[in-house]
């Protein structure tokens, strides 16, 4: 199991634009160092480490990666300018990255894409609300915006399409607290899915469309919960006093990747949907966060902070 990610294993300070570098290729120039550190016991020679790929190198603050369609593309949010957050799309085959809305002045948060590729959505700052949900129909070239009630402060985060592409669920900061809710593809038919005390957020939907996993502080600290797609039958999945957040269903629906700071530092963990099989995937003194499953169910992309820089990485995940 990959459990060590030494700083020298990748050319983190390359100043070119986003590019794809496999761990093996990127380390060619560091073979003597690798051998030295391996001898010193400071470098894991675990075979899986060779398959870890660093997908970006600019080091800017990044968050909320998601795969697009069949996984040939990845999108995320990035502080591409000092006062702007943009959505970046990277073609994993060509290495070409594209900034969505490059001339816009506002922020764009938390992209999500429908399974059939027709729709995508994101949070947009500006106008009367702080973050509105924008749903784009790429076929008809139309967009609709869902403006949450609550005036100037209301916010939409972490949208996710239902597998049938008919609804979008999200975290909403609006009267009633921070809850999880959904609207249809036209931004209408608002339905609250949680109405609990505490903070609720970071929802993800199982591929069969039957369950939602999310994080909630309704019982004290932030822990993972499952509920049915209509919000019924919430049940607690993890129970730790330090937060568990950002859960992501595996494509086969059996496991959930999530971020936890339970060891004092943010790492990526796995847990089965029945609460068994807790396993830590990363182990680094810096931050590992925002896990997202590749559609093939065999890899997880995440944002790793290394030497104070933030980049997208991709690692294999065993059964």
């Amino acid at each position: 199991m990959w459990n060590q990610f030494p700083a020298f294993a990748f050319p983190l300070r390359l100043c070119d634009s986003a590019s794809i570098k496999t761990g093996r290729t990127a380390r060619l120039g560091y073979c003597p160092l690798v051998i030295l550190f391996a001898l010193l016991g400071l470098y894991s020679t675990d075979a899986a480490a060779d398959d870890v790929r660093q997908l970006t190198t600019n080091g800017r603050l990044k968050f909320a990666p998601v795969f697009v369609g069949d996984g040939k593309e990845l999108a995320w949010c990035e502080h591409d300018q000092p006062t702007r957050v943009s959505i970046i799309r990277l073609n994993l085959e060509t290495g070409k990255s594209t900034t969505m809305f490059p001339n816009a002045s506002g922020h764009f948060f938390d992209p999500a894409f429908s399974a059939d590729g027709r729709y995508w959505c994101f949070g947009r700052s500006g106008g009367p609300r702080q973050l509105s949900l924008v749903i784009v129909d790429t076929k008809d070239e139309k967009e609709v915006a869902f403006e949450p009630a609550g005036g100037l402060r209301a916010t939409i985060r972490t949208p996710r399409f239902t597998p049938d592409g008919k609804r979008v669920i999200f975290t909403i900061n609006a009267p009633g607290g921070q809850q999880i809710a959904s609207v249809n593809i036209k931004g209408q038919d608002y339905r609250p899915l949680t109405q609990s005390a505490g903070i609720n957020g970071w929802p993800d939907i199982s591929r069969d469309g039957k369950q939602i996993v999310f994080s909630s502080s309704r019982a004290g600290s932030l822990n993972l919960f499952l509920m049915n797609i209509d919000g019924s039958e919430p049940r607690q999945l993890t129970n730790h006093r330090i937060r568990d957040v950002r859960p992501a269903f595996s494509p086969d629906g059996r496991r959930i990747a999530f971020t936890s700071a339970r060891d004092g530092n943010r790492e990526i963990y796995l847990i089965n949907t029945d609460g068994s099989g807790l396993k830590r995937l990363t182990n680094h003194k810096e931050r590992d966060d925002y896990p997202v499953w590749h559609p093939d169910g065999k890899q997880i992309a995440w944002i790793a902070e290394r030497n104070g820089r933030f980049d997208v990485h991709l690692m294999p995940v065993g059964d």
């Binding site: 390359l14 603050l61 000092p82 922020h107 702080q130 900061n173 809850q179 903070i199």
Partner: protein
């Protein structure tokens, strides 16, 4: 490397990307404390330099340095409290590195302010005085405030080379409505405003003011003699205009341009990669590193601003601490981990270099945030009780000073006013009662005795 209006750090290959002027001159530099006692009388200050880490926007005290794990759920929030090395001090789980370093700093839990708007509260906090004309939100003007603490110290020290008060930000700090008018000289005038520097995530340093000096171009500044001639001519030209735009700040800027030591100070690539990485490649991280370099050469007062703006999520904002919405997401994602990393790195760095004893580090904002979670699951402004973190420069570390009540709403004991904050900074910087009286600033102020 060094260039007019911009001081780019070297890229990965160690070669400057766009520097077009290298200065070889040397001017007298800051660091003139060797004669301080003779010039000012009395004993040298405990804090040779002050670094104000300004968390503009209002950081949530309950979610950072004053968690309330036993409070009601609608107050407590979702973050757990963790132990520190200081008896009686808990911090939020968002600050694990700072928890491990609590022996280096003390925390005040009972700061108070007098107004709830960003600009007046910020001006009050930075000057230690209340506005005589109502402040920014009530039509007040700049001369309604006393000078900022940085302006006072700079004037007292009278550094003749590097500016005595340097503020690191992309421009004057404030909110979307306007700037904090108390961040500078106030009634003393613009000559006592901070010298603004900007530092980005790669460590490129620029002087925003110099970007106004049209007429300077790389081609015309190819060598030092040409540069000086051009600058002299430019100055005469500006001085002759009906509107006088040349002021002391320009003089200081030109001083920097002709100072080889400034060239070195602003060149963050001279730091080891390990040090630069420790601070993190964010504008806040590299700005704090630049701040430490300025302190190292004797700049008396450095203010590092988390953000130029304080309205998160609005267009053009850059994530101040004004988390009216999504407080718990934003703090967990960005604010908490960035502050934890950068402030820890700064304290470590100053400590390891032996500079912490002579450098006062103060980290605070203009107020805290509502202990009771608002109706959209976040927190709003709260000036009745908030925190400040103090380290070095004569402050006893490992203390908790004052206390908030069970819900974090009001001081339970020992409220600390902005005047007390200002007076304490000045006292540690060598401005006791007599010096304050001489300058007629915070004459009736009281120091926070428990910190000293």
């Amino acid at each position: 490397m060094f260039s007019i209006g911009s001081f780019p750090s070297r890229d990965c290959s160690g070669i400057s990307r766009r520097a077009f002027l290298q200065s070889g001159a040397t001017l007298p530099f800051a660091g003139g404390l060797s004669t301080w006692a003779q010039e000012k009388g009395g004993s040298p200050p405990r804090a040779k330099s002050v670094m104000l880490i300004w968390l503009g926007g209002g950081p949530s005290h309950l979610d950072l340095f004053d968690p309330k794990p036993k409070a009601l759920a609608q107050y407590r929030g979702p973050f757990s409290a963790i132990q520190t090395r200081t008896p009686g001090l808990l911090v939020s789980e968002l600050l694990p590195k700072l928890a491990q370093r609590s022996h280096l700093y003390s925390v005040v839990h009972s700061n108070i302010n007098y107004q709830g708007g960003h600009r007046p509260a910020g001006s009050i906090a930075m000057t230690g005085t209340r506005p005589t004309d109502g402040g920014e939100d009530r039509g007040g003007k700049v001369d309604g405030y006393g000078p900022s603490i940085g302006s006072i110290i700079a004037r007292h020290r009278q550094s003749k080379s590097l500016p005595g008060f340097i503020s690191l930000a992309r421009g004057p700090i404030g909110d979307g409505v306007g700037p904090n008018i108390g961040q500078g000289g106030g009634k003393w005038g613009k000559a006592h405003d901070p010298f603004m520097l900007s530092c980005n995530e790669e460590g490129d340093v620029s002087i925003p003011k110099l970007k106004l000096l049209e007429g300077l171009s790389p081609a015309r500044l190819a060598d030092r003699k040409t540069m000086l001639r051009e600058l002299d001519g430019l100055r005469r030209s500006i001085d002759s205009k009906p509107f006088r735009v040349w002021d002391g700040v320009y003089d200081q800027a030109i001083g920097l341009l002709t100072s080889s030591e400034a060239t070195r100070v602003f060149d963050l690539s001279r730091e080891s990669e390990k040090t630069r990485q420790a601070f993190g490649r964010t504008a806040f991280g590299q700005s704090c590193l630049l701040g430490r370099r300025l302190v190292e050469v004797g700049v008396p007062y450095v203010q590092v601003n988390w953000s130029r703006y304080v309205e998160v999520l609005f267009p053009f904002s850059d994530y101040g601490w004004d988390t009216h919405s999504d407080n718990f997401g934003l703090l967990a994602d960005w604010h908490g981990p960035l502050l934890d990393r950068v402030l820890s790195a700064l304290l470590d760095d100053l400590h390891e270099r032996g500079l912490l004893d002579s450098t006062l580090v103060l980290c605070m904002g203009e107020f805290g945030r509502t202990p009771k979670i608002n109706n959209i699951g976040s927190r709003d402004h709260w000036h009745q009780c908030y925190f400040s973190v103090w380290a070095g420069g004569g402050v006893k570390p490992g203390l908790v000073v004052g206390a908030s009540d069970a819900q974090g709403e009001f001081p339970a004991r020992d409220p600390v006013t902005p005047a007390m904050v200002g007076t304490t900074i000045l006292d540690l910087a060598g401005m006791g009662t007599a010096a304050r009286a001489e300058m007629r600033v915070l004459e009736d102020g009281h120091v926070i005795d428990a910190l000293l």
